[in-house]
Symmetry: C3
Subunit: 438 residues, 3 copies
Amino acid sequence: MPNSRIKQVVAACFFSYLIATPVFAGQEEFYQLLEILLQNGTLTQQQYDSLVAALDDSAAAADRDQQVQVKTEGGLEASTYDGAFSFELGGRLMVDSAYYQEDQNDLGNGTELRRARLDVEGVLFSDYGYEFGVDFGGGDADVKDAFIEYRGWWPTKVKIGQFKEPFSLEELTSSKYITFMERALPNEFAPGRHVGVGVQSRGDGWTAAAGLFGESFDDDVKDEGDEGWGVTGRVTYAPLRDDRRALHLGAAVSHREPDDTDEIKFNARPESHVTDVKYLNTDDIADVSHINLVGLEAAWVEGPFSLQGEYVAATIDRHAGQSGLDFDGWYVYGSWFLTGESRIYKPKSGKFGRINPVTDSGAWELALRYSSLDLSDNDISGGEAEQITLGLNWYVNPHLRFMANYIIVDNDAAADDAGDLAGDDDPSIFQLRAQLDF
Amino acid sequence: MPNSRIKQVVAACFFSYLIATPVFAGQEEFYQLLEILLQNGTLTQQQYDSLVAALDDSAAAADRDQQVQVKTEGGLEASTYDGAFSFELGGRLMVDSAYYQEDQNDLGNGTELRRARLDVEGVLFSDYGYEFGVDFGGGDADVKDAFIEYRGWWPTKVKIGQFKEPFSLEELTSSKYITFMERALPNEFAPGRHVGVGVQSRGDGWTAAAGLFGESFDDDVKDEGDEGWGVTGRVTYAPLRDDRRALHLGAAVSHREPDDTDEIKFNARPESHVTDVKYLNTDDIADVSHINLVGLEAAWVEGPFSLQGEYVAATIDRHAGQSGLDFDGWYVYGSWFLTGESRIYKPKSGKFGRINPVTDSGAWELALRYSSLDLSDNDISGGEAEQITLGLNWYVNPHLRFMANYIIVDNDAAADDAGDLAGDDDPSIFQLRAQLDF
Amino acid sequence: MPNSRIKQVVAACFFSYLIATPVFAGQEEFYQLLEILLQNGTLTQQQYDSLVAALDDSAAAADRDQQVQVKTEGGLEASTYDGAFSFELGGRLMVDSAYYQEDQNDLGNGTELRRARLDVEGVLFSDYGYEFGVDFGGGDADVKDAFIEYRGWWPTKVKIGQFKEPFSLEELTSSKYITFMERALPNEFAPGRHVGVGVQSRGDGWTAAAGLFGESFDDDVKDEGDEGWGVTGRVTYAPLRDDRRALHLGAAVSHREPDDTDEIKFNARPESHVTDVKYLNTDDIADVSHINLVGLEAAWVEGPFSLQGEYVAATIDRHAGQSGLDFDGWYVYGSWFLTGESRIYKPKSGKFGRINPVTDSGAWELALRYSSLDLSDNDISGGEAEQITLGLNWYVNPHLRFMANYIIVDNDAAADDAGDLAGDDDPSIFQLRAQLDF
């Protein structure tokens, strides 16, 4: 299918339901009628002038700029035509089931509401915005993004509140748009959401973001002790950034000091969330002075094909002459849209976005991932694992997709959930997801 | 009051606030004026044609079908005129207080936010829908319906996500529309909401629904063990289904296997929720192989009078030659609208719906229920109870009602909350509710 | 700056974004054209009458009164033009950080989502309303206002559900509008939100409110015991109530009986919420018969200057001849808008409201507070504290403000968190807030 045809269909698909509230149909023709009636002598020049002036006033009073238009694509969007004020409500539902071909340990077949989330966002007085989301999938209420944003120095934006530290392409790509059901093993290193302040900007193909962060309330186990804090920065550059051809390169660093307990812990599920088993688990590491993270990212899109990979290294410094610890992980995956679509790279934010199927029967994507995480070093035996995932995605329409993942897990002997499980466990996993966002 | 008058008032009451956003008032008259001006020679045929063509284009551009209309009845509804996309936000508040005339055990007078719920739902691309509700009444966030729906095979619908298993007329009727403050004792058997897939259809007076379900996250006590699962099906038929005269018959079956623990438990409050006392309580029943449920339903509406009843039997099979267990329960109730309204039977879904009061002073309903539940068999002494409830409901308007229930409880000696309470406790209960939905 | 200029700017600022959905621009001119065409003989009287009649019908059909207008100021508001039905969705985000200059005990520097709240409210059938808000800031879902309201006896209103007991000017003023980041120490006495029924009314400068309350679910620790209950009433009078000059006087009383445990407890953070330390803590006081509260309020606004103060006394009666307990506290503060704005006193509800900055660079407010709380009497040594707070607020626009508070804490020896901390702790606190509401 030629590129132009695809673009045309995608555009049609995307814009067909972005329709504003009605405006006066016939206003222009009213002016034309008055013009004719003036010219054929039915109206005097005075009558004509008076009517046109009145109509002008009337049209001005109903000035489109400050009127509110309402849109729906399953959610809700209301905004003034000039964009100075807006409100948007959306959400996402992800319904999972998982079947574990167990080896040595129980993993627990079952079902799960992986995400059940409501998000609101808005703009006030043109320059100020907010985002606020809550996830209910885990059986309680978990605040996601909750920040205030200043946009007056566009394209530079300043954020205050809870949001994701700028680290890792896969972490920063919304769960609505990631290629596999769960992010890869090394995602355990990504700092994720904390309360803090951040600044981000962008230019011709590049983005940069940095921030100073405390902890999210979930981490704040000891309210009388000082919280931990971190600084994180990320830069990306896309030498290629066409619609169906892109090359993304990125690097990020993060420095974090733990809270008063001086303890940190890394642990990771086997890229499957129905189970609670976390084979890889360092347990609490004591006497931690600070953690440094380095992340490298690359992605390449060539029509229906794409490759993506990341490497993350974590270096932990400990007090009192104890040796440091070096953990690391990486993943790489390829994706192929059988139906010709292309992964949507967004050079303005340095991440990936929504897939718009070309045909009525939806888009089909085949993907293969290798991932690896090593949490063992010196006296800490958190374990090491390698996993291979085969994924098949069906994008029924831009807001609905079904996902199937088959995962082969290879754990080493130390991957025993800090001693709670048998090591060397090599199960395989088959899991399904239905996902709708609005 | 004659039927026709009632229908007229109900219709007026129902539709008066379903008003769309404004469309061009005067468009039709514009065409008429041009016609007249053509005929009396003020406009030439060419001028007329040109103006009409322009007006046609203009009207087409503001095509109503894809414009968004917004409605409010206290909540919010936005939909394109063609219905292909829509969004709805609503909710319910139920405020209870209960006074216990205690016999042997403390029950605890008090107040409660019985339900404080937000619901969103929507349609995308005509054929796809979702529902998502969260209840905050219990002090935490409790996900209710959370499913994705395919409507492309209308009237057959397929659901994926968390929703109610199709079992029991009273369970499936929304808490907004049930006749008494709490569902009857045998409701303890109804499987309720679980994560799964289901299909439902309907025809001339009949409905059918079936599904395969896992567990809700609340039940998933042991994440590393396999979840339980169940299959459930229900059919209903309404030989009579007029506006104020209906006869409903239904039957449902359910088969469920417990999770890895092989344990199940049935327990029930005395149709009052302010207290946490559950007289009837089997405690954990071990070594359960599976449970089979059978439910029978009937309801009859004759003008302001109605009758409704259900019988549910639960059969529990246990491993290792242990004897099976048979529990059952039933209820029957009558309702009389003193003000002439009629309970609203919905033959398309096989359940009851919203009451629309005929007069400005609202609708008054008197109701009487007998219910019974027996959770004792063989070695399990969960107890047996009979209860009689007198209910009075005042429907102030279609969205607001006040309820008063007086309940006489008759527990047997084994109804001791698995040994935690004195048996043979026979309290009476007076409870009130204020309920608003939007 | 003269008063008239300020009012003008405030009004412009406030109304500029309150714009309705479009209505037919040109309808009036259509009538005028027909009139002209009649007079110059282009239309016959019959043609004119017919067109005008059709246009009248068409305009009536699109009757503005029942159409829905949609507004956004970052949130969402939809209402019929006649106001009979409406829906509103809003929220607030408050992001805090605190730095403790510790003396004897750890307080725990850190960050916090102080409030992350969604609120919906609406009107149905003109006379009925509801409010429903949930806060997610604490890591769970905390229901705030959740009540049904009858407005048919305007200005008298009746409420059922969970809402604030009418006690204390600072408690009743929304957290969006309080002058300092946290309410003053004596706020610990204010009953706050409980489930109950209440009535409120108002007249020329006065307001009165009273209610009967149970407990909120958070307090209901023992579901089988009877809940506590209370009655509370408040009256206010404002001899001066001009736009920029107001004098407010108020008094409130409350009587509460504890639940079955006969225990109550008072404890208070040092006007800083990032820490969990509560220096002042009576621990559980046993054998309580009832508590009586008396509160006195006064506030005075004179242009950019204002003063506000409250005194609250709590008297606790105990069973079995044990001596009563008398606790009390008070605060007083002054505020000065450097940029000339005035605190907004709302005589109709007897509390303070939203600040609208006069200039584009926002409003700046300087404030100083003294507060004191004494929870020691007889055998109960809850401790006593005095605090001085210097506050600086920057209102960027009516919906966004930044706050900085510097607090000097002076605890006595008994202020030891019921023995868990060292007494005589005198830390100082510096804390910051970013706040946006929509």
